[in-house]
Subunit: 135 residues, 2 copies
């Protein structure tokens, strides 16, 4: 029944970072899985709804998904080059957001926070900015 959903979940578990729906779909097809794009979308939504995966939007409006270790509230430190992701927690930030909101009379406060950077591997591996092709 939810065989496909599990399959989708599995792909996400194998991945180091966030993956797009189309991305997951492509990989599954490449592996020979018989699945439709529609079903991948549905599976991802279902997984997101049940909190089994985290979702976030890229700058160009694409939804990307990730199977996270922790079900608790946390944020992400994402390598903008390879997509590798580290889960981070910041209790102080949570409190800060809550406080700021209250101070301005806001209630039911939530927040979104993501940190982007270039991870160590990518920083050493690819430094095409120095010596571009200067013989």
């Amino acid at each position: 029944m939810s065989n496909r959903r599990d399959a989708v979940h599995a792909i996400l578990r194998q991945s180091e970072g966030f993956r797009s729906a189309q991305d997951v779909y492509a990989e599954m097809r490449a592996e020979g899985a018989k699945i439709g794009l529609t079903t991948v979308y549905r599976a991802l939504q279902a997984l997101a709804d049940t909190g089994h995966v985290d979702v976030l939007r890229t700058d160009d409006g694409e939804s990307v998904y990730r199977a996270c270790a922790s079900g608790d509230h946390h944020h992400h430190l994402v390598c903008r080059r390879c997509g590798r992701t580290v889960e981070v927690a910041g209790p102080a930030v949570e409190r800060w957001a809550e406080t700021i909101g209250s101070e301005h009379g806001f209630t039911e406060i939530t927040h979104t926070l993501e940190i982007f950077g270039t991870c160590a591997s990518c920083a050493t591996a690819a430094k095409p900015l120095r010596t571009p092709s200067r013989a």
Copy 2:
């Protein structure tokens, strides 16, 4: 030349919160302005590029724009009901993000952070959750 861009900027300045491109376009047309949707998009992009307006993505992937008072790095406390927005700064959070990134070997660290809530006016004004229509 950049007459249209100024007009778009003006609309944004009049607004309390973030507005979508289509939204701005609709208002300008309603006011009788002769402008095309394409130009509104171009104007918004230009304004965003030059840092005159802030951009963020809504949950459903729409880009929304706002003319912000400060050109410095800051975040937003947004009312999820009426869209009213307060600019907030959190030096501690900036440092925290930077630190977290470094600790994990990441460089060129940036971050995104938005706080959402229900503002005081909206909280008192609309409480349709109680007595929905229970005669």
